[in-house]
Structure formats: structure tokens, C-alpha cells
């Protein structure tokens, strides 16, 4: 069997559109409708308690409601700061405070709702299926369990280490590794990708996921997870946001927000005792309104929605992060380890030139090259035939010629013609060994020339493939060399340039020799390369980078990669990989597209930036709110403060209410931003900072002045305000 024949889940381009099933519009009426029940359910104080900022608003809403209810019996609203307030004032403030809490709940509900739909589809794959366990399975005598009896059990009763037989048409009952056989598997339930993938025993494509369906053949699977702890279970928990643990940055931000809230509580608590001396005290309703406007409610309301939406953005790109911490770490990555094949270059090398040795007719060389590849189905083989056609070679095998497929033993492939001539192509060492078998000779001149050409090709980043022929007599000669070239993906050098601007080093990892690696590295524009890389070298490289303080991200699929994946700060395992690799990494890419690592970094940064932007905006808003509320509270006793009413708000009551309303509806306006994330442009830190300070800092100062003024224009028409 040719190792290159079966290429499951071809790596995709960076810009591959996501499967339609995971694409959802940012916010639709449908989503809002489904989020409504959650919005009210989350009013439960036991849930509110987890968000200190919103919990304060919740308490404020309860208090103002109680005051509004009591007012008719205690003789109308209490005067505040020496000014009478309209009868409906307290009730209006109470309503808008409840709306503030509800809007925050709505944001979280919508964010969660987006994951819920996906969780539903995943749940369907989790239904209990029959599993077939071979009785008295003997791995040595009968590895395929072809002759033993099968016992049927429910998938829910499977234990760790059980072996099950899955035949065509059946659902795989649990996560596991294929230990015998090869099969095509439909994994669309999880990846959304309808094309089947191949899973086979041994090697790096042995992991299967419970709930996926075997389409052909028969495999034996060793179960590697307990029921209830399967990959799908973890996925469901993740996309629903149920297992969302707070990340370090989120905790640090919460500390800052809490301490700001504490300061503002102190400001409001001390205000009346202080004001009682030069002015008159404000009413409780006004104090609560002031507090709610000052504490960072905007970011407090949207914080968890931002976190959930960040995870969701990864899920939409078919990446599963095992923890939010990993997503954040992705934003901090300073070194990216990228596999050459599939990430930096297209998975397949292409023939770019033929070089014949001295004394060989070019015609002969071209014909031989094409002959040797006619029956070679690999992309390399096809590309040789294509190039031959372009150069005018048109040969067809006659009926008597015999195809010699590639084998791991000979490391060659080719054709035996009817006249007894054998044509082979392969690595130069393999070809020379072939020519020398049965006592054949290779001329020293030929060997020297071959070496020169091969070195030349290697230095330029190509792979030399030697073509030789052997006549029936056993006399063989080297004809020439095919130049196979790695094709660097378009746009990558620019992409790496952007990464460099963001402060991220890219390192190419390849099994190629250092010469070839250096050439491709230069062409692709990576900062460093690791040639002839073994898993140990990868691990060593990561450790060295980390000792220098770098955060390292890498992708991997094989069991060999597991230690390096575990060592890396962000380890993205390919879904096609082994379960060992999936266990070791902290993310799984369902599309098995190593290029996605770059997107993951951008999503991590976007998550942090969105939090920072809304925090800045929220704090900057306070300036305008002060200018609305402080003169309004005390202007009755200290008329001079009217000068601070720079927005020209109509009355103290309308000023306070306008500020409270602005504070509530700004949450609604920012929900889309929280869910979508602030647009991230790859540029250096100083530029990004300048841009974001302008937009969210200065914008945060100016916006509420306009917003509160506009709302006041409407409120002033309400009788009494």
C-alpha cells in the first residue's frame, strides 16, 4: 500500500470557509427570542452574586422598587438635594435599573444561546448505541477478531480499555484508537465536514470519536474514555459555556473592576454626610442612580458574554479549546512552531525541472521520467507526468508493461517495460543500491555528477528524485534527476511579516535536511527553522524558548508529538491525530488545518482587546455621568453648580434619569461588539494602543455627553421632569 495514496482530511488553506452548519449570524431575532427565558432566569440572586458589579445594580433595583412601592404611603417622593422630584421619578429609575440588569442577562444569554444550538446537534450523537465486544479476543492469534463471537452491550456500559468491533454502517460507540483495520469514517456530526476521512490502525490517524459513523470496512477500536467523559461530552460542556473557568486576565480585570466599585460605593456612602454640611442630602433613589452610573456596569454586564463569545469564535472555526486559559495564552504567544508540510508549503511537492546527466539524451531522460510515473497516483507522480506533457513527451504504457508501485522496502517506484527494461525513480541512495544489486556498477563520473546536481537542488530547497534504467541484461545507468519543489503557499511571507510586527517569531519544523530547510525557510520568510526535526528536538526547542521567557504554540498530530504538545503553552492537536496527541494538547482542530494556529493567536488577542476596550469605554463614560448628575443633585442648595451642567440638561430629575437610561441602553448597543469582538488588525503594540485609546478612550468620554443630551431632549417632555 502506498503511504501517500490515502490522504485523509487534506490540510486546507487559511481562508477556507467554515462549514455552513457552524456559521451563524451574529445576532438574529431568533437568537434574541431564544435568549429571553434565560434573561429572566438569570435574575436569580444566586447567579447575580458571581458578578459583583451587576449584583450591586441588582440590589439597587430591588431597593428603588421598594421605595417606589412605599412612596404613595409615605407622602410622595422625598426631595433630593433641596429639589423636588416628580412623582414617577423613583418608579422610572427602578424600571431602568431592572432593565440594566436584564440587558446584561440578555447579553450573556445570547452568547450562551449560540453555543447551545451546536450542543444540541452534538447531543444527538451521544445517544446510546449498541457496541460489539469480541468474546475471548486474542490479539496475537486473531488480531482482527474474525473468528470469535461478538457480545452486544450498550455503549453506556463500555469500560475504559474495552475492545469493540465496528463494521460498515455502524456508529462508533465511544472514543478510542483503532487497533486493527482501516475504515472510512463520516465525522460530519462533529466537524461539519461531509467528506469521509480514513482511520487506520497504527500511525497518526488512529483516533476515532464516539458518535461518528463507519462507512466502509471493519475496525477494532480500543475504548480510551469513560462514558460521560468523552470528547463529545467535553465539547458540549465547552460550547455551552458550562465549564467556563475564569482566566487569569479575567480575574485580574475583575479585581480592578471590584476595587473601582468599592471606591464608588465609598464615594456614594460618604456623599450625604459630607453634603449635609454645605448643602442638603440627596435622596436614596438619587444616590443609587449615581452609584449605578459610576460603577463600571458596561464592562461588568458584558464581561462574561465576551468570554463565551471568544470561545464560540474558536468553535466556529472548528477549534475546540479545552480551557479559556489556553485561548488567552494564544494571544500571548511569542513563538509559533509551524510544520513545514501542509502549513508553510502545500502538502505535495511538484516537479519543476528535469536534468539529464552528461551523455544521456534529453529525450531519453524525459521519457523515462514520465514512464516511471505513469502509474504513480501520488501528486508528485502526477506532477511529473504533467510537466512531461508540457515539455512535449507523450508516451503510453503498452499492455505488457508492469507497474512497480512504491514500497517502503525499495523506496522506489517505476515500470518494467515489455522489452525487459526496468525504469525506476527514487532517492539517490535507493537508486544506486538498485543499480549495484546483482553486481552492477555505477560509473564514478556519473556518481559525481549526480551528487553535484542533487546538492544543487537541495540547496535551492528542492528534493532530487533520481531516474535510472536497467536493461534486461542487468546493465543499468543513471539517466537524470527530477527536481521536485516544495511550493510555499501564497501570501505566507506577508503573513509572517505581520506576525513579526505583532512580535511573534515563526519557526518552521521539518524533517528535511538543513540545506533544503534553509532554502524553504528563506523563501517563506520564517525567522528560524528546525531541520531533521525529531520529536525530542521539538521538545528541546520548546523548552529552550520557554526558558528565555517565550510562550510557544505548536500543532501536532502524532503520538510522538504528545510530549511537545504538552510542553507547549498552546498545543493544537489535529483531529485526525492520535488520542494521545489530543489528550496532550489544549486545543483540538477539527479541520486538522495547521495554518489555523495563526487565526487562533488573533482570536486570543481579540478576546483581550475586547475586554480592554469596553473597560476603557466604561470608565471614560463616568466623566459625562458626573457632569450630568453632580450638578443635578446639589444645584438646589448650591446654585453655582449650575455652571457644571454643561450639557444644559432640563431639570435635576431628567438629568439623573437620562444618565441612568444611557447607562442601560449603552449595554444593548455594545452587545454586538462584545459578541463579535473588537476588530483586530495585526500591527505593533504601540500602534494598536494608540488606535484603541482614540476609539474607546476618547470615544468613551465623548459618546455619553451626546447620548445623555439626546435622551434628555425626550425625557423633558414627560410631565413633571
Amino acid at each position: 500500500m502506498s503511504t501517500t495514496q490515502v490522504k485523509p482530511a487534506q490540510p486546507q488553506e487559511a481562508s477556507t470557509p467554515q462549514p455552513a452548519s457552524h456559521r451563524s449570524k451574529l445576532m438574529s431575532w431568533e437568537q434574541i427570542r431564544t435568549a429571553l427565558p434565560g434573561m429572566f432566569k438569570k435574575l436569580d440572586p444566586r447567579l447575580q452574586w458571581h458578578n459583583p458589579v451587576m449584583f450591586l445594580v441588582w440590589i439597587g433595583a430591588c431597593l428603588t422598587s421598594a421605595i417606589a412601592a412605599a412612596e404613595p404611603f409615605i407622602g410622595g417622593p422625598q426631595a433630593s438635594g433641596g429639589t423636588q422630584v416628580p412623582v414617577s421619578f423613583t418608579a422610572a429609575v427602578a424600571i431602568w435599573l431592572w432593565l440594566t440588569v436584564l440587558f446584561a442577562n440578555l447579553a450573556e444569554s445570547i452568547a450562551e444561546g449560540r453555543g447551545k444550538a451546536q450542543a444540541e446537534t452534538l447531543r444527538k450523537t451521544r445517544t446510546s448505541t449498541p457496541a460489539f465486544i469480541p468474546e475471548d479476543y486474542d490479539q496475537l492469534q486473531d488480531p482482527g477478531a474474525l473468528t470469535v463471537q461478538l457480545r452486544e452491550v450498550s455503549s453506556a456500559d463500555l469500560k475504559l480499555g474495552d475492545t469493540v468491533v465496528v463494521s460498515a454502517g455502524q456508529l462508533i460507540p465511544g472514543d478510542g484508537d483503532v487497533i486493527w483495520g482501516i475504515a472510512s469514517v463520516d465525522e460530519s456530526a462533529i466537524t461539519g465536514e461531509s467528506a469521509p476521512v480514513v482511520r487506520e490502525a497504527g500511525g497518526d490517524r488512529s483516533a476515532v470519536t464516539g458518535g461518528t459513523r463507519v462507512l466502509s470496512d471493519r475496525i477494532l477500536v480500543k475504548i480510551t474514555s469513560r462514558p460521560g467523559e468523552t470528547f463529545v461530552d467535553r465539547m458540549i460542556a465547552l460550547v455551552e459555556g458550562a465549564s467556563r473557568a475564569r482566566t487569569p486576565n479575567e480575574i485580574a480585570l475583575n479585581i480592578l473592576l471590584s476595587s473601582l466599585s468599592i471606591v464608588f460605593v465609598a464615594v456614594v456612602l460618604t456623599l450625604n454626610p459630607i453634603a449635609s454640611y454645605p448643602a442638603s442630602p440627596a435622596s436614596l433613589t438619587v444616590l443609587i442612580a449615581l452609584l449605578v452610573c459610576l460603577i463600571p456596569t458596561t464592562i461588568g454586564a458584558l464581561l462574561s458574554a465576551i468570554g463565551i463569545a471568544g470561545m464560540d469564535r474558536l468553535v466556529q472555526r472548528n477549534v475546540l479549546a479545552m480551557s479559556g486559559r489556553a485561548v488567552e495564552a494564544a494571544g500571548d504567544v511569542t513563538t509559533l512552531l509551524l510544520d513545514k508540510t501542509g502549513t508553510i508549503t502545500y502538502g505535495n511537492r511538484r516537479a519543476s525541472a528535469f536534468a539529464e546527466l552528461t551523455g544521456v539524451r534529453r529525450e531519453t531522460m524525459l521519457q523515462a521520467a514520465v514512464y516511471s510515473s505513469l502509474a504513480d497516483p501520488t501528486p508528485e507522480g502526477t506532477s511529473i507526468v504533467d510537466l512531461g506533457h508540457e515539455l512535449g513527451v507523450d508516451v503510453k504504457p503498452d499492455a505488457h508493461s508492469k507497474v512497480v508501485p512504491f514500497s517502503a522496502q525499495t523506496r522506489m517506484s517505476g515500470l518494467d517495460l515489455a522489452d525487459g527494461t526496468s525504469i525506476r525513480k527514487g532517492a539517490s541512495s535507493a537508486i544506486i543500491a538498485w543499480l549495484q544489486e546483482d553486481g552492477g556498477q555505477v560509473a564514478a563520473v556519473q556518481a559525481a555528477e549526480l551528487d553535484e546536481i542533487a546538492t544543487h537542488i537541495s540547496v535551492s530547497g528542492g528534493t532530487p528524485l533520481v531516474v535510472a534504467s536497467k536493461q534486461a541484461s542487468g546493465r543499468g545507468e543513471i539517466l537524470g534527476v527530477i527536481h521536485l519543489k516544495d511550493i510555499v503557499k501564497e501570501g505566507l511571507p506577508q503573513r509572517f511579516e505581520q506576525l513579526r510586527a505583532m512580535g511573534i517569531r515563526t519557526v518552521m519544523v521539518t524533517g528535511d535536511n538543513p540545506l533544503t530547510a534553509a532554502a524553504i525557510a528563506a523563501e517563506a520568510g520564517v525567522d528560524d527553522y528546525l531541520a531533521e526535526a525529531t520529536p525530542e528536538q521539538k521538545l528541546h526547542y520548546i523548552r529552550r524558548e520557554q526558558e528565555g521567557g517565550a510562550l510557544v504554540a505548536m500543532t501536532g498530530d502524532g503520538t510522538n508529538d504528545a510530549p511537545a504538545l504538552a510542553q507547549a503553552d498552546v498545543g493544537v492537536a489535529m483531529n485526525t491525530g492520535t488520542s494521545a496527541a489530543k489528550e496532550a494538547g489544549n486545543m483540538v482542530d477539527l479541520d486538522s488545518d495547521p495554518t489555523k494556529l495563526i487565526d487562533i493567536v488573533a482570536i486570543g488577542k481579540q478576546l483581550l482587546i475586547t475586554r480592554g476596550a469596553l473597560t476603557t469605554f466604561s470608565i471614560a463614560n463616568d466623566i459625562a455621568k458626573y457632569f450630568a448628575i453632580i450638578p443635578a443633585i446639589f444645584v438646589g442648595a448650591l446654585p453655582g453648580l449650575q455652571a457644571l451642567n454643561i450639557m444644559g440638561l432640563h431639570s435635576p430629575a431628567s438629568a439623573v434619569l437620562s444618565a441612568v437610561i444611557f447607562n442601560a441602553i449603552v449595554i444593548v448597543f455594545l452587545v454586538p461588539l462584545a459578541l463579535r469582538g473588537v476588530k483586530y488588525r495585526p500591527m505593533n503594540a504601540a500602534k494598536t494602543l494608540g488606535r484603541n485609546i482614540m476609539i474607546y478612550g476618547l470615544g468613551g468620554i465623548v459618546t455619553p455627553f451626546i447620548g445623555i443630551w439626546l435622551i434628555d431632549q425626550l425625557i423633558r417632555f414627560i410631565p413633571g421632569f
Partner: protein
């Protein structure tokens, strides 16, 4: 004319400080990093049983600071309580317990709030108690700042230096030599330095007058250099024996600013990136000049408050200093934790008075007290770095040190302490009926917004370890004596504890190498962000109370 004169004075100050920035900063860096000990220092370590080569963990460092300050507090209290039996008692009696405690707390906390009248303490107490504390409390502040710098400079270290070494070196190698030079300059200018006591003189009009002498110059110089502020005389630096001429006034401002404005260089040198020092210096300078300009604008216009009533901006100011030197001194003393005055702050325009309060409420970071200004500014920088880090999508880091939850906790607590002390103090003063009675009937000479300003100023001054006061307030009542003493102690030592914990958490970390993705913390953008953070945090917390007090009065 006034502005030109102001600009000339500021230019002179800038030139002097600019010339000394590098040598002074690098000298201090050498003092705190040198491995060699002077003979007198070795002798002192031997007496104290300290191994100067052994560095301390942040906890041990903090314990040393606290034990040392507690000992200073007790000693100073005791000295005042027995002063009539000490030499040079001047016939003064023992100080009563409450005032003695307040004064001890005040000098140990580098505040020099003077609930006592300067002339009531004997020479012995002044020299052995106050002057000693003026040295060591300043050296303590510098030591804590240096410990924080070491935290940022060290990698994976469990220690942040040795407090005893930092204390002794700061006192002996930095404060003492400059004090001697400075005192000589002041004596030359006519500042008094004797042990003559009160001299009785007959004036031209035939009246009899008591002229108090004393070791003034020696205390004057360390009062400014160590940003202490406790005057020998009650009138402080407006007294001609302390501050005889316009140029001595500017020279005293220079002494106040010398160490705080040079410490950023020490910081830059010790962390191995001098640009970081310049960034902190510029942040401080921008805030200093901005605040100075605002204060000058309010005073030169003379609207509102006492000058408005008097119809002249010179109310409460000395004619030999004029508006310009008064404004420079007032801004300098409130922006550092000095609290010395050469004019009566209570008599400034309402909004000018607000600027003085704002200067203190800013946390005294521009440039702030010796040491405390730098560590206060670094904490603000940590908060600014955190916000900036989020805005650029990287886990925030400052000088290669990550700002995680534990660092944010310490920095957030740091910025909580002072506002809580000030707001609680003022609110209790007016919120508790008994206390309000004492404030309104005994302490306040003014009513309404200006009365509130006087109390606000007192707590702002105490909690920030400034020490200056609005003179209209009689702070010798039991409530104010006790509460301000508590505010001074908590306002000094809680932040110190938090800063040392922060130093420890930084020291334990490794340094992350800077890349293009790292936010540069030495560029104008970051400088504006840090200055902006400082101003915004202060403005948001104190806007309501300022609106009720000086703003309401100024807009009347």
C-alpha cells in the same frame, strides 16, 4: 509679567534639576547597589547585629520597616512626654498625650502635620526627635522605593534587599551630606542657626518682643530635602528666620524636588533601561507643570475665596515672595509630601485651594515624597500597563514582569487606601452628630463650602502624608488629633506593605524578553496614558466632594 517671572523661576529650577538628574540619580543607584560599606556603617551594623550582605524577603523587609517605625514612634512620643526634664527645655512643659501621639505619628509617617505649635517643643525634642525622624522617615521611604525597583530588576529572586542597609546608606550617604551643604547655603542667606532661646528685644516703638532663635537652618534643610515639612516655627517657611528671601524660597523648592525628581534616574539605572526612568520623569514633570500652571492661573486671576473678599490676590501671602514664589512653593509642597508652606494655603482662591487639594489627592506622585512619589507613580504605571495590555491584546507586562491577578490585587488595594481614608475621615467628621458638633463649634472658623474645604484639606493632607493645612481649621481637638494621626499612620504604612508585597511578587518572576508585540513603556503614548490614569482615577473619586467644597465656592 507674572507669567514671565513664573517661567523664569521654573526655568531656573528645571535647569538645576536637569543638570543634577543624571549624577544624582546614578549616585543614588550606586549607593543602593554598592557592595562596599563605610567604616561608620560597618560599626553601625555591628551594633545592630545586621549582616549587610544578607538580603531580606519582602516579608522580612516589611517587618524591619514596621519595627523600626514603631520604635521611632514610641521614642518620639516618650521624648515629648518628658521634655521638661531634658536639657534645653526652654521652660516648656511636657506635651499632652493626644498631641504627643499625633506629633509622633506625624513625623514617623514623614508627614509633619503639626498639631502642636512649633515653638512649644524644646530644642532637645526638635533635634533628637523631630530632626532624627526627618532623616530616617525620609530614608525609609527611599528604601521602600528602592526595594520595589529591585523587585522589577531581579529575576527569580526571593529577596529584595536589606532594609537596615538601605536605611543607613540613605541617611548617611544621601541625606546627610546634602543637608550639610544645604544648611551652609541657608545660613549664608540668613537663616538662623543657634541655641539662644528666646531673646527679649525692645522695638522702635518701645514695645517688648520675644525673638525665638534655635537650630533652624539644620532642621530647615532636612525638612525640605526629606519632603518632611515640619517647620521650626509655627509659621513654617513663611517665617523670615526660616526663609528670608525670594531666592531662598526657590532654593528650598529645589531641595524639595531634588531627590524625588532624581529617583526616576536611579530607577532607570537599576533596572538597566534608562529610557524607563526618563518616561517616569516626564510623567511626573508633565503633571507637575500642568498643576503649577493651573494654580498660577487661578491665583493670578484672584477670583473667589479670600483674595476675592480682600480684593487682592496677595491676601495670606508674603510680600517678599510675591505671587510667583508663593505659587511655586505651594504647588511644590503639595505635589510632594512636604507640607512646608511659605504662604497661607487657606487664603488662596477657591479653585487655587482646590488645586492644592488635588495635588495631594493625586497620591503625591508628581514627583511626590522622597521614595513614596516614585513607588506611588510605579503603582499607577502598573495599572496603566494593565489597561494598555488589554488594549493591545497581550497579558500585560511591565519591564518584563507579568501583571497578573496577584499584582492587580496589590495595586488595586494601593489605590483604594488613600481615598477610603480621606472620604471616611470627612464623612465621619460631618456624619456623626457628636463629631460634627466638635468640628463646627471648635475646629471651624468658616462655614459652608469653605468649612468643608478646610476639613477635606486636613484629611487629604494627613492620609497623603503631606502635613500642610488650611489654617482656618483648629486641628487640636480630640477628634481631629486622633483621626488624623490614624489617617497618617494607615496612609503611610498600608501602602508601604502593599508596595513591598508587590516588590516581592515581581522579584519572584522571571523577565519576559521584549518583542515587537510588547507594549513599549517609554513612549509618549504610554506616558500620557499613565498621567491620564492618575488624573482620571483621582478626578472620578473626588469630583463629588470637590464639587461640594472648592468648586461650589469658586462658582458662587
Amino acid at each position: 509679567m507674572l507669567w514671565a517671572s513664573l517661567a523664569a523661576s521654573i526655568a531656573t529650577l528645571t535647569l538645576l534639576l536637569g543638570l543634577l538628574y543624571r549624577p544624582m540619580g546614578d549616585y543614588m543607584a550606586w549607593v543602593y547597589s554598592s557592595a562596599k560599606n563605610l567604616k561608620v556603617e560597618r560599626w553601625a551594623y555591628a551594633v545592630m547585629g545586621v549582616d549587610p550582605a544578607k538580603q531580606q524577603s519582602w516579608r522580612a523587609y516589611l517587618r524591619a520597616v514596621l519595627y523600626f517605625s514603631l520604635a521611632g514612634l514610641l521614642l518620639l512620643y516618650l521624648l515629648q512626654r518628658v521634655q521638661q526634664w531634658l536639657p534645653y527645655s526652654q521652660g516648656g512643659g511636657n506635651v499632652e498625650p493626644a498631641i504627643a501621639f499625633n506629633t509622633a505619628a506625624s513625623f514617623v509617617a514623614n508627614t509633619n502635620w503639626q498639631a502642636y505649635s512649633g515653638e512649644t517643643l524644646s530644642y532637645s525634642v526638635q533635634l533628637a526627635g523631630l530632626t532624627v525622624q526627618n532623616f530616617v522617615s525620609a530614608a525609609t521611604g527611599m528604601a521602600v522605593a528602592v526595594a520595589l525597583i529591585r523587585g522589577l530588576a531581579y529575576r527569580r529572586s526571593g529577596v529584595i534587599g536589606n532594609f537596615w542597609v538601605d536605611l543607613i546608606r540613605g541617611s548617611l550617604r544621601i541625606l546627610l551630606p546634602i543637608s550639610i551643604l544645604g544648611a551652609l547655603v541657608l545660613i549664608t542667606a540668613g537663616v538662623v542657626q543657634n541655641f539662644n532661646g528666646f531673646t527679649q528685644v525692645h522695638t522702635l516703638t518701645g514695645a517688648q518682643q520675644l525673638i525665638p532663635g534655635g537650630p533652624v537652618a539644620s532642621q530647615e534643610v532636612i525638612k525640605e530635602l526629606g519632603t518632611n515639612g515640619g517647620g521650626f516655627y509655627n509659621a513654617n517657611s513663611s517665617h523670615p528666620f526660616e526663609n528670608p528671601t525670594g531666592w531662598t524660597s526657590l532654593f528650598e523648592c529645589f531641595l524639595i524636588l531634588l531627590i524625588p525628581f532624581s529617583l526616576p534616574r536611579t530607577f532607570g539605572t537599576m533596572v538597566g533601561d534608562k529610557r524607563q526612568g526618563y518616561a517616569i520623569l516626564v510623567t511626573m514633570a508633565v503633571l507637575y507643570l500642568g498643576s503649577m500652571a493651573a494654580l498660577a492661573a487661578f491665583e493670578f486671576s484672584g477670583h473667589g475665596g479670600a483674595p476675592g473678599l480682600a480684593g487682592a490676590a496677595m491676601e495670606g501671602k508674603e510680600t517678599r515672595f510675591g505671587l510667583v514664589q508663593s505659587v511655586i512653593f505651594a504647588a511644590t509642597t503639595t505635589l510632594t509630601s512636604t507640607g512646608a508652606v511659605n504662604s497661607m494655603h487657606d487664603s488662596y482662591t477657591s479653585l487655587g485651594g482646590m488645586m492644592q487639594m488635588l495635588n495631594m489627592l493625586l497620591g503625591e506622585i508628581a514627583p511626590g515624597g522622597v521614595g513614596s512619589g516614585l513607588y506611588g507613580m510605579l503603582v499607577i504605571a502598573v495599572i496603566a500597563v494593565f489597561l494598555a495590555g488589554l488594549l493591545v491584546g497581550r497579558t500585560p507586562e511591565y519591564l518584563g514582569k507579568k501583571i497578573g491577578p496577584s499584582q492587580m490585587k496589590l495595586a488595586s488595594l494601593y489605590i483604594l487606601v488613600m481615598p477610603l481614608l480621606v472620604l471616611a475621615g470627612v464623612a465621619l467628621s460631618f456624619g456623626v452628630p457628636a463629631l460634627k458638633g466638635s468640628i463646627v463649634n471648635e475646629s471651624l472658623a468658616n462655614t459652608g463650602s469653605h468649612g468643608l474645604s478646610e476639613v477635606l484639606y486636613a484629611f487629604a493632607s494627613g492620609a497623603n502624608n503631606n502635613g500642610s493645612a488650611f489654617a482656618g481649621l483648629d486641628a487640636s481637638t480630640p477628634w481631629l488629633t486622633a483621626s488624623i494621626a490614624v489617617a497618617m499612620l494607615l496612609g503611610r504604612f498600608i501602602p508601604i506593605a502593599l508596595v513591598l508585597a508587590l516588590a516581592g511578587s515581581f522579584a519572584a518572576q522571571d523577565k519576559i524578553p521584549a518583542t515587537a508585540g510588547t507594549l513599549p513603556t517609554h513612549r509618549p503614548l504610554f506616558i500620557s496614558l499613565t498621567a491620564g490614569t492618575a488624573v482620571l482615577v483621582t478626578a472620578l473619586v473626588f469630583f463629588p466632594v470637590l464639587a461640594l467644597a472648592p468648586i461650589a465656592e469658586g462658582l458662587m
